[in-house]
Point group: C2
Chain length 222, copies 2
DNA sequence: CTCAAAATAAGAGATATCTCCTATTATTTC
DNA sequence: GAAATAATAGGAGATATCTCTTATTTTGAG
């Protein structure tokens, strides 16, 4: 992890101003952090000292279960908060947050800002919306995972993450995210290829029958 | 559904005052609603006109999937909000909310109060906490459902809901909640009886080996 | 550039969970 | 209080998903 200082810091603060998120100034103690791919922004079970706001990059929220299984709870993208649970709650089991690309965050020291933040309607309004979306998304994922087999959920995931008709997520990540074994993921991907929905090209998969995947994915959504 | 008026309404408003949740008065347009067991407080996909705050009773949040499966997303208890998603978002797929016991709610007409509510730090702070807990709970349930078989999740549920050592939830409800088939739930309950963890008494189950269930449940939690 | 670690690939067999079916017993409703 | 509806009970067979294993390929650190 690197902390930006001086000129570089100023440039970031100006070009990605977050002043509109608060009704008071957070400039005094704000830091700008840069994390490399695979760096841990927050380690599991270690309470962070900052409320982070992601400016660039992408990160993953992980939890490790007692049976050794690891779940990728969700992805975090630019313009999202990290550490807001700890800001709000004194008692909270902190999840691990790992950068999956180079990630730049603003970091507000909780120690200095907590009190003010919790009294700021502007900040709270946006955080409320952010959390309500999270809660809704998690509820949707939860019920979908119980109501539909991998076939449907994977089709949805492929369509969501494919870039110009090519799906290229890493299997290990996808297993943790969709909560299935590596072996089973392979099995269903193979089926998609056999049925002609996808075409395997090395590590990537070219989408061949968009409509078939769409059909499988559609039943997840209301 | 009944609306309380006059004296009865006044008594409720006084005995269960929610003035501390807001920094302005919501008395002018507030209503007091009573729902019977099995009444729908909100119908799925029908946007409600009120933000509800539950005073007494218990309700269930349902969603119906396109394949006909029904998921019981969560329970709602006293001192929780209903309809907060619709307050926050103009576009939202409304879930069904059904009273599972006689339920009394305060109902704030969104039309009148929305603007003020979204500017009230006191209200927003508590709502933020409420939603953060929801999001965390849903994330936990989601990852647990993927990482552990029914055996563990059911043990946890039994311990959470048993009353004086007796488990007496309806199977149909539990299936929807834990996202498994009726048949499978029966199967695992039977196993618990065969192993001596539970003893079936008519429709109820007496807990016989608390520690065995505890052991199964414990692995879910960090 | 090299070696260790991680990711991919796939077979084989186990098991968790589902679907479909048929009875029996409670609960509601008119 | 009888008839309709919902809940419970369980058999039988299917399938979605997991675990374990072994081999090959790719990636990352020094």
């Amino acid at each position: 992890m690197k902390k930006y200082k001086g000129k570089k810091k100023q440039v970031y603060l100006e070009e990605h101003s977050i002043a509109h998120l608060f009704s008071f100034s957070v400039e005094d103690f704000i830091e700008v952090h840069e994390y490399q791919r695979n760096d841990w922004i927050i380690q599991e079970s270690m309470r962070p000292d900052f409320l982070f706001y992601v400016i660039e990059g992408k990160a993953k929220i992980y939890i490790t279960h007692q049976n050794g299984k690891v779940s990728l709870i969700n992805f975090i993208n630019a313009n999202e908060y990290i550490g807001e649970m700890e800001l709000l709650h004194d008692v909270y089991y902190t999840k691990g947050i790992q950068a999956s690309t180079k990630t730049i965050c603003f970091a507000l020291p909780i120690y200095y800002y907590r009190k003010q933040l919790l009294e700021d309607a502007k900040f709270l309004r946006e955080l409320t919306k952010f959390l309500s979306v999270k809660a809704t998304e998690m509820a949707a994922k939860y019920t979908q995972s119980l109501a539909f087999p991998l076939e449907n959920r994977l089709a949805d995931f492929i369509l969501q993450t494919a870039d110009q008709g090519v799906y290229k997520e890493r299997h290990v990540t996808v297993c943790d995210y969709l909560g299935v074994s590596y072996r089973h993921l392979q099995h269903v991907l193979r089926q998609f290829c056999d049925k002609g929905y996808l075409n395997k090209e090395g590590r990537n998969y070219q989408i061949r029958q968009y409509h078939s995947l769409k059909e499988l994915a559609q039943v997840l959504h209301n």
